[in-house]
Symmetry: C2
């Protein structure tokens, strides 16, 4: 029988888990609540127990698996299998996740951070179509990313490769970012960044606009509202979408000119805007990239949604010679 994979997507509210074939097809999917009490000290034990229990239920044993791949918040030390700084799990101190989970399950454990694992999922079974050079950018509460180049995820010397949200797109007069510096892509292209840009642009906007009115009336607005009003041709919303598309295209053009991937995939909550976001980005992007890149690097919207994490995590456990390139 062909060996299978296990993918685990550890988040601040739930732990998603799945059993997949070696071709990345999800056969079984379940989740448990993340127990962050007592400094998150129960997390590894509870998810390990849940895995063991599921394998027992299904009559499967360890020999039938290549191993467990897992995406986690925080900074991952790949050599030692240690996670630190995962504040939404209350893991402020170093956690020996790999060895802990291996002890409980008896399986081989492979770790990477959650943004990289989502990138791996979209690259393997989503919009990346198995390409060797694929970059994933996620637009949510923050802006994150993962870079898959020449067949592997890039980590950089201290694990900060793929910090696309902190690429400087406003080198002068930029907004303050939570990271400490100014003008980061995240300050204008995350869900909250888009609202910030809308509020700033509303100040200067004098034409009729429902969005302008909502902001003047101090109603709560969201990035989704901006895109919805854009579709209704609200002139302020159209201008806001144009502005944030410009900043996104600028950051994506740097990815294109430096890495020339076959695909740049946009995911996360904001990507639900679909073509309303994709079209203006592509239009700016094409003006900002080197001719060969314009012909060969394509931008698309993510297709896997919440499953990107478990699928990409599972890929980590796949032996090198089993990777299915498109």
């Amino acid at each position: 029988m062909e060996k299978k994979l296990i993918g685990v997507d550890l988040g601040g509210t739930s732990v998603k888990m799945a059993i997949l074939t070696k071709d990345g097809e999800v056969e079984e999917k379940w989740s448990i609540k993340t127990n962050i009490s007592d400094n998150g000290s129960h997390i590894v034990k509870e998810l390990g127990d849940s895995l063991n229990q599921k394998l027992t239920e299904l009559g499967l044993d360890n020999q039938q698996f290549y191993g467990v791949g897992m995406g986690t918040p925080g900074t991952v030390n790949y050599e030692k299998g240690i996670v630190k700084g995962a504040y939404n799990l209350n893991w402020s101190k170093e956690q020996h996740v790999r060895d802990g989970l291996a002890r409980i399950t008896g399986l081989s454990i492979f770790l990477d951070n959650d943004a990289n694992v989502a990138a791996l999922g979209e690259r393997w079974k989503g919009a990346g179509e198995g390409g060797a050079n694929v970059v994933f950018v996620t637009l949510g509460t923050g802006v994150g990313g993962g870079i898959f180049a020449e067949g592997q995820i890039l980590h950089g010397v201290r694990g900060a490769a793929g910090e696309i949200g902190h690429v400087t797109v406003m080198p002068e007069n930029g907004y303050q970012c939570t990271c400490g510096k100014k003008g980061c892509l995240e300050t204008v292209a995350s869900a909250t960044g888009i609202v910030r840009v809308a509020k700033e642009m509303a100040k200067e906007f004098s034409d009729v606009s429902e969005l302008k009115q909502l902001i003047s009336d101090e109603k709560e607005i969201t990035s989704k509202k901006v895109f919805d009003l854009g579709k209704k041709n609200d002139q302020l919303a159209v201008a806001v979408i144009d502005r944030i598309s410009f900043y996104l295209a600028l950051a994506l053009s740097h990815i294109g000119n430096m890495l020339n991937p076959e695909k740049i995939i946009i995911g996360g909550g904001v990507s639900a805007a679909g073509d309303s976001l994709l079209k203006p980005i592509v239009s700016y992007f094409e003006k900002m990239v080197f001719p060969v890149v314009r012909e060969s690097t394509k931008i698309s919207i993510a297709t896997l949604g919440n499953d990107a994490g478990i699928i990409g995590a599972a890929w980590l456990a796949l032996p090198d010679d089993e990777d299915q390139e498109a």
Copy 2:
């Protein structure tokens, strides 16, 4: 006896060649003139003959070599060993360089483009100190680059990875670049780009300045002149160096935030300016990068000069398990 390496750096005026130990020490170095007559059809034959002759002279045979690594202008098809579009060699049509050279020498041949090969040299034996993540940026007539990430050179899907000279640093009101788009780093940070910036800034500059006077008198100025006057505290020159350092730092910050390499190395003719260039770049760079990158990604000036090409080329022929990491 330990096997050796051969490095070849093919350029438009000369072909530099060297025999190196497997640790990258140059033992023998020579060059021939590049014969670009008859559509460059003699190039491969002449360099192959020169290699054979040198090995005979030295009493060495093919069994004593891992192979020949070679850097070439143009676009390299790595799978097929074909070079095309190397216009300074008069190679407008596809050239089967790998097979041709292998036939003449009986040695294994490994190709990459000249910018990547220089990056490999600096990374292996120069300022990169053998690191696994090193980016090389060369400031000369143009601006080029090579990215070494997680132990390998990145090529991208169509060979355009590392086109750092075409990163957009002036997204609005940028200068026209030879590549067809506007606002490329090359338009402001190449040797000619620096002169362009000096001439533009001179128009608005009203204080006393020798550089301003030279430009007003239509004297020929060079990027070296700008740096020399900067050292003498010429106020226009100081302002020009500040401006181009800002653009360079911006492009390098994108490298830092996306790839988090341990080193970004600046080479090429303009890098002879040394600290006068490095200091203002580092100062801007530190304001533009994510905190972890600020701590872990360092910028330095190249150290190998013209030998970077032959050394990096030789590295291509080194078997994977012989790479000497620092």
